[in-house]
């Protein structure tokens, strides 16, 4: 019996580590305008090439080029830019608020603002998103969502719509098409498919949009979501936000090495796109394409959004311990905000002065919202939903054992 070389376990590593630059050549980046736009009724197998290329609209000069240029007037694009800037201003202020101990915890979406805000503008009233904890842009892109209400959730104060039951960032806003965020990763991906199936069962016209990060695609619910979406041709958009990092873990450990997350969709018989997540126009166009397919009974679409998690994973994380400090500056797809601003300036629909004025106005808006939310209390000052409310909503009607426990707690509180 011949003996070969000893077997070796392969453990993927990022090229960049603290003090060593990342080699981003693993990303497979296409030129703007280069990737074709298939017809809406394209079969999933006919999107195989799109799972390994990158849909991009904005070129290095900020010009919109190629078949994916969306029909969008300057007003809509300006709205998108403001939504991104608002999301970033909100994150920046909440990060400081956490450092000031006004809130216990926070998670930014720095660098990923285009994806959620662009997607939000491609959906219709009544559609339901099943977000992760990094899609606050879905809320902040909407004019009917109160920033004060969001901050009250972050502060767990007496106006917190979730009554202090959830960690900061785990928003829930049914009327804004924003499903309750869970700490358990990937669970909402299959729930989005179920929501879409329900809409189809009832002959409705609303669609669902599920969200997941690159790391969480390794969870089993990612697989169940793709299988069910494919089997039942569910009207759902399956968004994979590939920001390259799952806390400290590079996307190669999630299964991204030498392949793409979009390719998983094709393998499951789902039309799939791989899109520049920092290109607002590409986000808008791809989201609309997927929404139109879903609404047209043409089935689900999986979109891998290629982006970069520019900030720390959370306020409890220090990325300088596992990746280069200046990594974002080298990320080849840049920053979504200046990229869209450059485009708008190029078409005469924006100016540097307007940018600065808008930035100042948004910062003032966030500051005012924070100030107002602080009036309703915080964890620190104890202005919270009363302790007795923790026994509510466990069941629709409070069972006898919870009534007893509530009485016991109250007896303990007063004695």
């Amino acid at each position: 019996m011949s003996q070969g070389a000893p077997l070796r376990l392969h453990v993927p590593e990022p090229t960049g580590r603290p003090g060593r630059e990342t080699d981003f050549s693993y990303l497979h980046i296409s030129r703007a305008g280069e990737v074709r736009r298939p017809p809406l009724e394209a079969s999933p197998a006919d999107t195989a090439d799109l799972a390994y290329t990158l849909v991009r609209v904005l070129d290095d000069e900020g010009r919109a080029v190629g078949p994916w240029v969306p029909e969008a007037d300057a007003a809509l694009l300006r709205r998108g830019l403001v939504a991104m800037m608002k999301t970033r201003a909100f994150d920046a202020r909440m990060l400081i608020a956490q450092r000031q101990k006004k809130i216990s915890f926070y998670m930014q979406c720095l660098g990923e603002e285009a994806i959620a805000t662009g997607h939000a503008l491609a959906l219709q009233q009544g559609d339901m998103c099943f977000p992760t904890y990094r899609q606050q842009g879905l809320l902040l892109a909407r004019d009917d969502v109160s920033m004060v209400g969001m901050i009250c959730e972050l502060m767990s104060n007496e106006r917190d719509p979730l009554k202090g039951r959830q960690l900061p960032v785990c928003y829930s806003m049914k009327r804004a098409g924003f499903f309750s965020v869970s700490g358990n990763l990937a669970t909402q991906f299959i729930q989005a498919v179920g929501w879409g199936m329900a809409s189809a069962i009832k002959g409705d016209t609303r669609i669902a949009s599920g969200w997941i990060g690159d790391g969480a695609t390794a969870e089993s619910d990612f697989h169940t979501a793709l299988t069910f979406a494919h089997v039942y041709r569910a009207p759902v958009i399956l968004n994979v936000v590939n920001n390259q990092w799952a806390i400290s873990t590079f996307q190669a450990i999630a299964g991204g090495e030498a392949t793409t997350f979009a390719a998983r969709g094709v393998g499951c018989g789902i039309a799939s796109l791989r899109v520049d997540g920092n290109d607002f126009l590409a986000v808008l166009a791809a989201s609309r394409w997927a929404a139109a397919r879903a609404r047209g009974n043409l089935g689900p679409t999986l979109i891998e959004w290629v982006t970069y998690r520019a900030g720390a994973h959370s306020t409890s994380d220090d990325p300088s311990r596992y990746r280069p400090a200046d990594d974002w500056a080298h990320f080849p797809l840049g920053d979504p905000i200046p990229r869209l601003a450059q485009h708008l300036i190029g078409i005469g629909a924006w100016s540097q002065q307007e940018h600065e004025e808008t930035q100042a106005k948004l910062e003032a808006e966030v500051n005012a919202a924070l100030k107002e939310a602080e009036r309703y209390g915080s964890l620190a000052d104890g202005h919270l939903a009363g302790a007795a409310t923790m026994f509510e909503d466990v069941y629709k009607d409070m069972p006898a054992h919870l009534k007893r426990q509530r009485e016991q707690m109250q007896a303990g509180v007063v004695s």
Binding site: M128, F130, P161, L162, K163, R165, Q166, C170, S172, M173, K174, F179, S180, S182, G183, N184, T187, I190, Q191, A192, V193, G194, W195, G196, M197, A198, S199, A200, I201, K202, A208, S220, D221, T224, A225, T227, F228, V231, D393, V394, Y395, K396, P399, A400, H401
Partner: protein, 337 residues
């Protein structure tokens, strides 16, 4: 009234609810065209169509997870896990999602779903066709756990569970699907048609949740049980001549504490019987509740008769299954005190 097996009664409950509520949908593995491996959904797809009753991929996590999404939309899904032994891949969706959705969203969303699972042993099912995992659900705040012991309760409890706005784990003792079983495996099978509880109303009715039933009134001791063990306990009472008051819990959690407490305070003695393994089983919670609420009325230590703390064996089925001899011996021990 019509004579029905438990299978027919469960099917009738689903038929009634599919008819009454357009938002009820039924799916699971082999549930659609084929009508279920136990025939519980036979004919329902033909009657209501594939968009109401359909087959699902073999994915318990996917079945429960998609049902939660449907519930969030506003449907009332009734899904099946083929054997309770196979619910484990769905545990994250049950515990982290279905059970918590109303609470964590402060009522913004809820999961009005029913998860049916055939459970229990006594059928030579071996390790993965015999388990009784109820304690893994009763420990989870936000879900309801229900188990019927006969066709009449099965239909009424299933309708009540489907109508309930909380997530319900509906455990069906498959040993009782075709007839009552008292643990005497060496005797001929009995059919539900020969039992009064096999007489089931045709149309809509409910058996309320959180309501236990005094299955057999008695004066000597109280037996707290559910599922197959109700009949085993009844046989043990007859064979020992001990006048046991047998309570069929029906709703395991939240439960009907008043009925238990009233009975134990009357008899002063208590035996708890379940098929599931002993340690940290649901019997431990029942023991604690009886001890807390009936301490001054107790004349003997509370006994538990349960499955052993082993995986469910194949060849040693009847040495594992807590039959009437073991239950009867516990009755005698408790009466001797």
């Amino acid at each position: 009234m019509t004579a029905m097996t438990m299978i027919q009664a469960l099917r009738s409950a689903m038929d009634v609810m599919l008819e009454r509520d357009d938002n009820v949908v039924i799916y699971g593995q082999d549930v659609g065209y084929f009508g279920g491996v136990f025939r519980c959904t036979e004919g329902l797809q033909a009657k209501y169509g594939r968009s109401r009753v359909f087959d699902a991929p073999i994915s318990e996590g996917g079945i429960v997870g998609s049902a939660i999404g449907m519930g969030a939309y506003g449907l009332r899904p009734v899904v099946e896990v083929q054997f309770a032994d196979y619910f484990y891949p769905a545990y994250d969706q049950i515990v982290s999602e279905a059970a918590r959705l109303r609470f964590r969203s402060a009522g913004d969303f809820s999961a009005p779903i029913t998860i049916r699972m055939p459970c229990g042993g006594g059928i030579y099912g071996g390790q993965t066709h015999s388990q009784s995992p109820e304690a893994l659900f009763t420990h989870v705040c936000g879900v309801r756990t229900v188990m019927p012991s006969n066709p009449r309760d099965a239909k009424g409890l299933l309708i009540a569970s489907i109508e309930n706005d909380d997530p319900v784990i509906f455990l069906e003792p498959k040993r009782l699907y075709n007839g009552p079983f008292d643990g005497h495996h060496d005797r001929p099978l009995i059919s539900w048609s020969a039992h009064p509880l096999g007489e089931v109303p045709e149309g809509y009715y409910t058996v309320p949740l959180e309501s236990a039933k005094v299955f057999r009134p008695g004066a000597d001791l109280t037996v707290i049980s559910y599922g197959t063990m109700v009949f085993v306990s009844e046989a043990a009472a007859q064979e020992t001549g001990i006048d046991a008051e047998i309570i069929d819990l029906r709703s395991l959690w939240p439960l009907d504490l008043e009925t238990l407490v009233a009975s134990v305070r009357k008899t002063g003695r208590c035996v708890i019987v379940h098929e599931a393994t002993r340690t940290s089983g649901f019997g431990a919670e029942l023991t604690a509740l009886v001890q807390e609420h009936c301490f001054h009325h107790l004349e003997a230590p509370i006994e538990r008769v349960t499955g052993w703390d082993t995986p469910y064996p194949h060849a040693q089925e009847w040495a594992y299954f807590p039959g009437p001899a073991r239950v009867g011996a516990a009755f005698r021990r408790v009466m001797e005190n």
